[in-house]
């Protein structure tokens, strides 16, 4: 019989597949992965420590620099937490504009995540198609907010810029283009026999494991965790008739497909928003006061929670951020990758959970 040797294979921190530095130490027996240890600390900037004792005007900009990919939702959750503390009402038009910008950001993030997955399984053609589609989405984000990545669009009591009718028309035209392109990309992904070989039935995470590690977002929804989308509880989304997408397979394919389906859902939400966009002011104003609140929102990767304590001048005394990647990376490393049949699946499985190390370590 052939002798199996135990080997420890380190992946990273600089790795062609990782977009950010992280180190996975895989203990293997032959090709089978027995255990994975995650070594972090490459992105630990101590942002919560920097935020303490600063006025909200500064923390607002720090909050969106927790993560560059999903900066809009960090901004949104922080601002809505401040509004919850100080009882500031948001004008209806501003609430709808927030949803539009947030969904554009979600589309960009999901497309980027799927780009990374396709790039990792070396389907470069589809990856490049997706990256080009993402540019169109970012154009629309830039048209509304004036910036591609760190937008700082929302402020307590409203948003900074209005959506002009000609911009809305241009956006609707772009969305038709994006939808057509995405339909084609999804067909390529869904029907590609080699993609299916690399994705179906690999990195399976059961529903129990998903609940155990408290996974959130598309990773949880692909494993069939019900009621895991916090947009179901957001008042504006409820008014728009939002419904959660759930799949039950729990493998790499399901995770990528959930993200694809959510892109289409986002397109529909934006269209509905523009159709029913109420008139009125976009900034209500208000004063940030002392208080304490915990507020959660649905980031592209899942549930994002801010716990904030402020003093009477609106300075942040204490803050704790729980980002979705913390749970997802942990579940991925300890549930999906464990017992993988090949070391070649480790990279693709890891990327399929859409890891964001900058979020994870803050």
């Amino acid at each position: 019989m052939k002798k199996t040797v135990d080997v420890s294979i380190p992946l990273g921190p600089v790795h062609p597949c990782w977009k950010e530095p992280v180190r996975l130490k895989c203990e293997t027996a032959g090709e089978r992965v027995l255990r994975v240890e995650v070594e972090l600390g490459y992105m630990k900037k101590g942002i919560e420590r920097i935020m303490r004792g600063r006025p909200w005007q500064e923390v607002m900009f720090l909050a969106e620099r927790v993560c560059g990919i999903c900066s809009v939702i960090h901004n949104m959750v922080f601002i809505e937490a401040m509004e919850k503390i100080s009882d500031i009402a948001v004008p209806p038009r501003a609430a709808y504009l927030r949803v539009i910008v947030n969904e554009l950001d979600r589309m960009a993030s999901h497309i980027l995540a799927n780009f990374s997955y396709c790039y990792t399984i070396e389907h470069e053609t589809l990856a490049m198609y997706l990256l080009n589609t993402r540019e169109t989405v970012l154009d629309n984000l830039e048209r509304i907010t004036g910036s591609r990545i760190n937008t700082a669009y929302m402020i307590p009591g409203g948003v900074r810029f209005d959506l002009l009718p000609e911009d809305a028309a241009a956006m609707l035209a772009d969305l038709v283009k994006v939808e057509d392109e995405m339909k084609r990309h999804v067909r390529i992904f869904e029907t590609g026999p080699l993609i299916a070989l690399r994705s179906r039935g690999i990195g399976v995470m059961s529903r129990e494991e998903a609940i155990e590690a408290h996974t959130v977002g598309p990773t949880a929804r692909a494993s069939g965790v019900p009621d895991s989308d916090l947009r179901l509880r957001h008042p504006t989304y409820r008014a728009l008739g939002f419904e959660q997408i759930t799949r039950t397979e729990g493998d790499n394919f399901a995770r990528v497909m959930v993200r694809f389906q959510e892109v289409f859902q986002s397109i529909d939400l934006i269209r509905k928003c523009i159709e029913t966009l109420p008139d009125g002011p976009i900034r209500g104003g208000g004063l940030c006061r002392a208080g304490e609140a915990t507020y959660s929102g649905e980031a592209p990767r899942g549930e994002l929670t801010y716990s904030i304590k402020t003093d009477e001048y609106g300075r942040v005394l204490d803050i704790a951020i729980r980002t979705p990647s913390i749970m997802n990376i942990e579940a991925c490393a300890h549930s999906m990758i464990r017992d993988a049949t090949s070391i070649a699946d480790v990279t693709s499985t890891f990327i399929s959970s859409d890891p964001c190390i900058a979020c994870n370590e803050r």
């Binding site: 600089v14 900037k45 101590g46 303490r52 620099r65 560059g68 591609r148 900058a358």
Partner: protein, 151 residues
């Protein structure tokens, strides 16, 4: 100029291998470097290849203010890149530490303290076109007549 040098110049101007290393940023500059790959900017039409492998790189893009884990490892990566090589700082973070350079931070910017930086692209984050422009302007300056200059 020797004919060998001329051949080398011609080859090098159309084959620049890029590796990027994130030493603790918000990820925004990372994805702007990735966006350069998109057919819209098409980084490969200039003969630039993003491989993310330091051992075959010519240009190292440094992103982010330096976190504790990278204090010793950034130099290691720089040493692994074969000559001729050049490092470009992308974004405000490696230049000054940007928003992270405050009281209570864990980072230790700037990146210049660890490796020689040849060019800096400020911005939070810079646009893909600016990144592209920086690579295209700094690479010929360093790689042209490299062997002649060594003498």
């Amino acid at each position: 100029m020797s004919i060998l040098q001329e051949i080398k110049n011609a080859v090098r101007s159309r084959s620049i291998h890029v590796s990027y290393v994130d030493v603790g940023s918000c990820n925004g500059c990372d994805i702007e470097v990735l966006a350069c790959l998109a057919p819209r900017y098409d980084i490969e039409q200039y003969g630039i290849y993003v491989h993310n492998n330091p051992r075959e790189a010519d240009v190292l893009l440094v992103i982010g203010s330096v976190t504790p884990q990278w204090v010793d490892k950034l130099r290691d990566i720089w040493d692994k890149i074969p000559e001729p090589k050049v490092a470009v700082a992308i974004g405000n973070c490696p230049i000054s530490g940007c928003v992270y350079n405050r009281r209570g931070t864990l980072t230790e910017p700037p990146a210049e303290n660890y490796i020689p930086i040849a060019a800096q692209v400020p911005g939070c984050p810079p646009r893909p076109t600016e990144i592209l422009n920086a690579i295209l302007s700094v690479a010929p300056l360093v790689f042209k007549d490299y062997e002649e200059k060594q003498r």
